[in-house]
Symmetry: C2
Subunit: 406 residues, 2 copies
C-alpha cells in the first residue's frame, strides 16, 4: 500500500509553485513556473533512483529499472501544467501518484519484471497552447511536431520557442516506443463518484470532443444613428446560436456537453456594432455517432441563423478527439485491483480528455478516477480527499504490478 501522507505532502509542495490567492494553481504550460514544477519532479525522481529522459516535445520519462531490461515498460503519468485558474490536483495527482508507486516499491524493496516509467506530458490542458494533450499527441503520432512547435499563445509566443526557453527540449525524438501497458489516475473533474459515494472509478473509455472557432461577421455601424432594423449585428446571431446550441445539448441528453470558453469582439469599440465575434465552441458526447450528429446540427444551426440575421458564419475545426474505448486487459487489471483492495467503485466513461486518449492509440491503456469535491475542476477551489487520492494510487500500484510481472 502506498504512503498516502507522503503523496499528499508531495501534492501540497508542488502546489506552492504557481499558487494563487484563491488556493488554486496557475502553472501554465512552458512558463517559468512550469519549469520549476518540472525541475522539482525530476529531482524527486532522481532521489528515488530513477533515470530521466526528456524528449523533443518536453515530455519527461522517469524510469525505474526492472529485472528484465529487454521487456517493454509499464508506464503511468499525466501532466503538471494547469489552467490559468486551475486547481492543485488536475494532472499533478496522476504524476505524483506514479512517483508514489516508485517510492512505495523502493521502501518495500520490490523489484518488478518489466521496468516502470512515470511520464510528465507537455501542455495537456490546451489552455495556453491549443489543442490539448499536444505532448502525448505528438508522441503517439497524432500531430506533427512542426505543427505543435508553431502553436502560439495569446501573446503570440510559439510552443517551440517557449519549450527551448525553459530548457526542456530534449534530444530523444518524441515518438511512441513499445509499452507493456499504460495507466493514468486522475480526479474525476465531475460530480458522479461523489454523488454516488464511490471511491474509485474504473474507466472503460473517454467521450469524444470537438473544438471549433465560430466566427460571425457582420457590418460595423454606429450605435446611435443606425436603425436596429437594418443592422447586420453579430451579437444578434450570437444569442440565437447560443440558445440553439444549449437546446441541442439538452436534446442529446445528460451526457451531451456544449461549452463556450472564450469570445472576442473586433474592433471591440463600445459605440460600434462589431464587425466580428469569434467564439470558442466545445461539443462533447461519449457516443461517437451522437457527437457526429451534434457536429452536423451545429453547422446547420450556424448557417440557418446566419442567413436569418444576414451575418456570415464560418466554422473552423480546431481539434477533433473521437470517443475512445480502453484496452480490455488494462480495464480488467484496474477492475481486479479495485476488487482486491475492496474499494467501492463504478465503471464509467471520462468526460474530459486525458493524455491516455492519445496513448491508447499506440499502447494498451487504462484509467482510474477518484472523486473530487463537488465535482469542481478547472477551478481554483478544486479539492479532493486524501483518503480517495491514496485509494487511487493503491489501485494504480496494483494494476501496474499485475502488468509488469506477467
Amino acid at each position: 500500500r502506498v504512503n498516502g501522507q507522503r503523496l499528499w505532502d508531495a501534492l501540497m509542495e508542488m502546489a506552492t509553485i504557481g499558487a494563487t490567492d484563491k488556493g488554486g494553481c496557475n502553472r501554465q504550460a512552458l512558463t517559468d513556473l512550469d519549469k520549476q514544477g518540472r525541475d522539482l519532479f525530476v529531482q524527486w525522481c532522481k532521489d528515488a533512483g530513477c533515470s530521466i529522459d526528456v524528449d523533443s516535445m518536453g515530455n519527461i520519462f522517469a524510469r525505474r529499472p526492472g529485472r528484465n531490461p529487454d521487456l517493454p515498460p509499464v508506464l503511468t503519468g499525466s501532466h503538471l501544467d494547469t489552467q490559468p485558474t486551475g486547481g492543485k490536483f488536475d494532472g499533478v495527482y496522476g504524476v505524483l501518484a506514479g512517483l508514489e508507486v516508485v517510492r512505495t516499491l523502493n521502501d518495500a524493496g520490490i523489484e518488478t519484471e518489466a521496468p516502470l516509467e512515470v511520464a510528465v506530458w507537455t501542455n495537456e490542458e490546451g489552455a495556453r497552447f491549443s489543442p490539448a494533450m499536444i505532448g502525448s499527441g505528438v508522441w503517439s503520432g497524432n500531430f506533427d511536431q512542426d505543427y505543435a512547435y508553431a502553436r502560439t499563445d495569446k501573446a503570440g509566443k510559439t510552443f517551440g520557442e517557449e519549450l527551448e526557453r525553459i530548457g526542456y527540449r530534449g534530444q530523444t525524438p518524441a515518438q511512441a516506443r513499445p509499452l507493456a501497458a499504460a495507466f493514468e489516475v486522475h480526479i474525476e473533474q465531475g460530480p458522479i463518484l461523489e454523488a454516488e459515494e464511490k471511491q474509485v472509478g474504473v474507466l472503460s473509455g473517454v467521450q469524444g470532443m470537438y473544438w471549433y472557432d465560430l466566427t460571425l461577421t457582420g457590418q460595423p455601424c454606429h450605435a446611435g444613428p443606425s436603425p436596429m432594423e437594418g443592422r447586420r449585428d453579430p451579437f444578434m446571431a450570437l444569442h440565437r446560436i447560443l440558445d440553439r446550441l444549449y437546446k441541442l445539448a439538452a436534446e442529446f441528453g445528460p451526457w451531451a456537453r456544449a461549452t463556450f470558453g472564450d469570445i472576442r469582439a473586433e474592433p471591440g469599440s463600445r459605440n460600434t456594432v462589431p464587425e466580428r465575434l469569434v467564439l470558442a465552441v466545445d461539443l462533447r458526447h461519449p457516443d461517437q455517432e451522437v457527437l457526429d450528429t451534434m457536429d452536423r446540427r451545429f453547422r446547420e444551426i450556424a448557417a440557418e441563423i446566419a442567413a436569418e440575421t444576414r451575418v456570415e458564419a464560418a466554422i473552423r475545426d480546431e481539434w477533433r478527439s473521437p470517443a475512445v474505448a480502453f484496452d480490455s486487459r488494462c480495464v480488467e487489471a484496474v477492475r481486479a485491483s479495485v476488487a482486491e483492495l475492496g474499494y467501492s467503485n463504478k465503471e464509467m466513461v471520462s468526460g474530459a480528455g486525458h493524455d491516455s486518449v492519445y496513448i491508447s492509440r499506440v499502447a494498451p491503456t487504462g484509467m482510474i478516477f477518484v472523486p473530487c469535491e463537488k465535482g469542481l475542476s478547472h477551478n481554483e477551489a478544486e479539492n479532493a480527499d486524501p483518503a480517495d487520492l491514496g485509494a487511487g494510487a493503491n489501485v494504480l500500484l496494483h494494476a501496474m504490478l499485475k502488468m509488469a510481472n506477467g
Copy 2:
C-alpha cells in the same frame, strides 16, 4: 459660398494619415497619427492667418480675429480622432468645414464683428479612452480633468501620459469661456437624409445615451465532466439577456437603440466555463423619459435572468449623456441659412453624441447634418457626396456670419 473642391481636397489629404487598406481611417486619439493630423491642421490654420491656442486637455482653438476683439467668439469645430475601423468624414468634416469657412472669408476679404474660432476637441470617439467627448466634456465642466487624465486604453496607457507624449498638453486651463454661439457640422452617420433625399439636416437636439459594463459572474468548471444542469455559466445568462434587450429596443420603437460593442471572457480558456463575461452595453433614446424607463428595465432584466441562471449580474455605469435640446436662436440661424441657400432639408435629432452635447451646456449651440452613403459610419466604407459636404459648409458659413455680425 465655400470652395467645395478645396474642402474635399483637405478631407482627402487628412485621410492619408491613418489610412487603412479598406479605404477607411484608423487615427485613434492621442496616437502618433493623431499628432500628425493635429500638426497638419495647425499648419493649415496658421497659413490661413489664425492664432493657435492649445488647452490642458489638448483641445485646439484656431482663432480668426474679428473687428471687435472684446466680443465673445463664434465657434465651430468637431474632432480629428477616429474609431479603430473608422471612416474619412466622422468628425474630420466638421473641423475642416470650419477651416474652409475661414479660408472662404479670407478669399472674399470679409471681416466679421466677433472673432471666429475653429476647435479640435480631443478624444471624441471614446474608442481608445472611454467615455466619448471627453475633451469637450472637461472643457464644459462635465468631467474633472484628473478623471480624464486617469482614463486608460486597453494597453493600460493613461490619457494624461499619452497627451503629454504627443506634445499636445497645453498651458491654457481647459474650461469654458463666453461664446456668442457654437455650431458643428457633421455627417448624419445614419440613413434618414439619404432615404428622404434631403441635403441638409437641421438639428433640434441629440438623443440621450447611457453606457454600461454588464459583468456576469458564474462558476468556472470543466467543459467535459461537468453536467449541463449544475452549471453556473455566464453564457447561459448572456444569451437570454441579449435576447431581452433586443426585444426591449423593439418595444420602444424605431428610435430606441441597444448596442453591444465589446465583450471579453475570463479566464478565457476553451475547455472551461468562464468565470466572468464583461459586456459593453449602449442604450439610447431621444426621449429622456423613455431612456430612463429602458435603463430601469435593463436592470430588471439583468437581475431576473441572473437569478434564473444562478449567475451574478453587476451593472457599472460607464457614462450617462442625457437627451439634449439645442438653443432656439442657433437652431433658427441654421434654419434661416438653409432657407436662404435653398437646400432641401429636414428637422431632426442626432442619434450620435457629438462635442456639441457638452458645449450646449455652457453656450448657445446648434448643429447641421449632411447625408452619408447608406447611412454607414464607424465603418471604413463611410462615404459622403462632395456636393452635400459643400452644402453643409455653406450653411455653417451663413449661420456663423449671422451670429458673428448680429
